[in-house]
């Protein structure tokens, strides 16, 4: 089966006065039809930047380089801004983190929904309105005709995110990129929105990139996971495989931070990884995680740590022996 999206060697550089920042480094993955790939990592790990780089929506200062970027078999890397604009919103829909600020405050919900359809489809206003009503109903918004005439500030956060999802689906995209779609919402709304995304994904047979920092979300919703750290994918596997058998010490440490109800591991205290994600500049080499890693050795400072692959497509970027990493994982799960 041909992948919906093929990404090879995607990097982003941001030149600054003192150094060149490298927020995304050599990211590669495939996404198959109907599949959900989750990008996981802490703030600053380059998840959102990766999504924006694929969409060619990076901030002005940022420079993108990519070996291969193919969407539905078409090469995106060589396309002009105008051609990519034709795909954005039509074939690729995006849902962003904060529904409170992602909708334009001065236009009605209907206006903002319809304009995507009018832009990409050769449709009349009537047809666009009907499509908007259909999708508002699909995302379980009661009284869609009323909501169509309302402004974003008249809607709750949960409703606004439903509107954002409807907007992403207006033109029937093959791919949805959801960038922390529930981070800004309260807990009960979170699961509703995620359930909704999943059921719509199945109904319309879309592939999805789900960006999150929540491994609980990953466990429930993702088919495959790419764990990102400081701009790199450090581990990639099927969700079950990754949760069962984390190879990279960073993945193991992340899993270790999930509190388990009733468990008294770590003496009943919430566990965290000490330190913060470092900013990687062009001069840096070696494993980016080594300063926070409990198992770091001298060899971790060497340049060019390659991706290693186990059976079943389980990949990880660590020079420590697999047995060693497996021990780490075992120990942490004990």
């Amino acid at each position: 089966m041909n992948p919906v999206l093929e990404v090879r060697g995607l990097s982003v550089e941001i030149p600054t006065a003192s150094a060149t920042l490298r927020p995304v480094r050599d990211v590669s993955f495939d996404l198959h039809p109907g599949e959900t790939l989750s990008l996981v990592g802490e703030s600053g790990s380059g998840k959102s930047m990766t999504a924006l780089a694929i969409m060619d929506l990076l901030p002005r200062q940022a420079r993108r380089s990519v070996e291969r970027l193919r969407f539905l078999g078409e090469d995106l890397a060589g396309k002009s801004a105008g051609e990519i604009g034709r795909l954005r919103g039509a074939e690729i829909g995006m849902v962003f983190q904060d529904p409170m600020t992602s909708l334009n405050p001065v236009y009605t919900v209907g206006n903002q929904l319809m304009e995507v359809y009018l832009r990409h489809k050769n449709a009349s206003k009537r047809e666009a309105r009907e499509r908007a009503l259909f999708l508002l109903d699909k995302v379980n918004i009661p009284d869609p005709a009323l909501r169509l005439c309302q402004y974003p500030h008249q809607l709750s956060g949960g409703l606004r995110q439903r509107v954002m999802i409807a907007m992403a689906l207006m033109c029937g995209p093959a791919l949805i990129i959801a960038d922390e779609p529930t981070t800004a919402l309260d807990v009960t709304t979170q699961s509703q929105i995620l359930d909704l995304l999943r059921s719509l994904q199945r109904e319309f047979h879309m592939a999805m990139i789900l960006i999150t920092h929540d491994l609980g979300v990953v466990a429930h919703f993702a088919d495959r996971v790419s764990v990102m750290y400081a701009g790199e994918i450090v581990e990639q596997a099927s969700t079950d495989d990754l949760l069962e058998r984390p190879m990279h010490p960073y993945t193991a440490a992340l899993l270790d931070c999930i509190p388990v109800p009733g468990s008294s591991r770590h003496g009943g205290k919430l566990r965290s990884i000490p330190g913060v994600v470092p900013l990687i500049t062009s001069g840096d080499q070696g494993c980016a995680f080594r300063r926070r890693c409990d198992h770091a050795q001298d060899v971790c400072k060497n340049a060019g740590i390659a991706m290693r692959e186990l059976s079943g497509g389980h990949k990880f970027r660590c020079v420590l022996l697999p047995q060693n990493s497996a021990d780490v994982a075992m120990k942490n799960h004990a």
């Binding site: 995006m94 600020t101 334009n104 304009e115 995507v116 402004y151 500030h153 008249q154």
Partner: protein
């Protein structure tokens, strides 16, 4: 929207009444108006008579109410200097100053919006720096001097435009440019700052993620949000231009409100000064009200009381 408009109108009326009290008080700022009216060598008897004739012997509250009551009907009394109807003097001059102010504002906006948007789109580039330089000149040059430069270039050297009087549209071009240029920097910098804020906002990223055309992202989604504070500034600036065109009207020999104010102050013609302060203030309040209503039309959050 109706409730919002009603609230704003009531507020504006309150401000107008306060301003009128201040305008009325002006008369007493420079000492006893009757003595000024009667002249240096007047006897007590003359002063007494004048005081009765003009109603200065009544309690001040009563005087104010009677003055305000007349002012509301458009009766501002008579000029002390010319003994003519003050209202007529003002109505003769008002359209001239209004035309000048509106043209100057139009010039300022036509120049500053494109420059501000360009500067915001290309921050820290040549375009941005050029726009900043233009705006710095506007702020640094005194407008009477800039007016003289315009007169020398376009009036005397090139002979394209008339340099004094107000008998045709062409007469207003140089004064409007001189007056408007001074307001340009404030507009340009506000638009630049607002556009940069808006362009970095989440909803602009959404608009781009929807694949909308650049012009739709820029004009439909960004500019409408960036323009909101500009509307308020435009009202304030037009108010300044109406009240502050005194110097420009002098330079170009335009017989507007500014010139009338200047002449009346130097002649100690208090009823005229009083009426001018009131009229200009009420226009100013009216402009602010218009800006509020216009902004409410642009931004739904304002009319829903957010």
């Amino acid at each position: 929207m109706a409730a919002f408009a009603l609230r704003r109108v009531l507020l504006a009326a309150l401000v107008a009444i306060t301003v009128s009290a201040i305008a009325f008080g002006l008369l007493y700022l420079s000492g006893d108006p009757v003595r000024a009216l009667a002249g240096e060598n007047a006897t007590d008897e003359v002063i007494q008579r004048l005081s009765q004739e003009y109603g200065f012997d009544r309690p001040i509250g009563e005087q104010f109410l009677s003055w305000l009551g007349k002012a509301v009907t458009g009766d501002f009394g008579k000029s002390i200097y010319f003994n003519t109807d003050v209202a007529e003097m003002i109505w003769d001059r008002l359209p001239i100053t209004m035309a000048l102010g509106v043209m100057a504002l139009g010039f300022a906006i036509c120049l500053s919006i494109p420059l501000g948007v360009l500067a915001a789109l290309r921050p820290n580039t040549f375009v941005d720096k050029a726009a900043l330089t233009i705006s710095l000149f506007g702020q640094a040059l005194p407008n009477f001097w800039f007016a003289i430069l315009l007169i020398i270039l376009f009036g005397l050297t090139l002979r394209w435009l008339p340099i004094s009087g107000n008998s045709s549209f062409a007469h207003f071009i140089l004064p409007a440019v001189a007056l408007g240029y001074y307001a340009t920097p404030a507009f340009m910098r506000l638009i630049r700052a607002e556009m940069m804020d808006v362009l970095a906002s989440d909803y602009i990223r959404t608009a781009r993620a929807k694949g909308l055309s650049t012009s739709s992202v820029l004009f439909k989604h960004a500019l409408r949000n960036a323009i909101i504070p500009v509307v308020s500034l435009a009202a304030v600036q037009l108010g300044f231009m109406l009240g502050g065109s005194v110097i420009i009207e002098q330079v170009f020999a335009i017989k507007g409100l500014g010139a009338l104010a200047w002449e009346s102050i130097s002649r100690s013609d208090y009823p005229v000064v009083q009426a001018l302060v009131l009229v200009i203030s009420v226009i100013y309040v009216g402009l602010t009200l218009c800006a509020d209503l216009l902004n409410a039309a642009i931004d739904p959050r304002l009319r829903h009381g957010h």
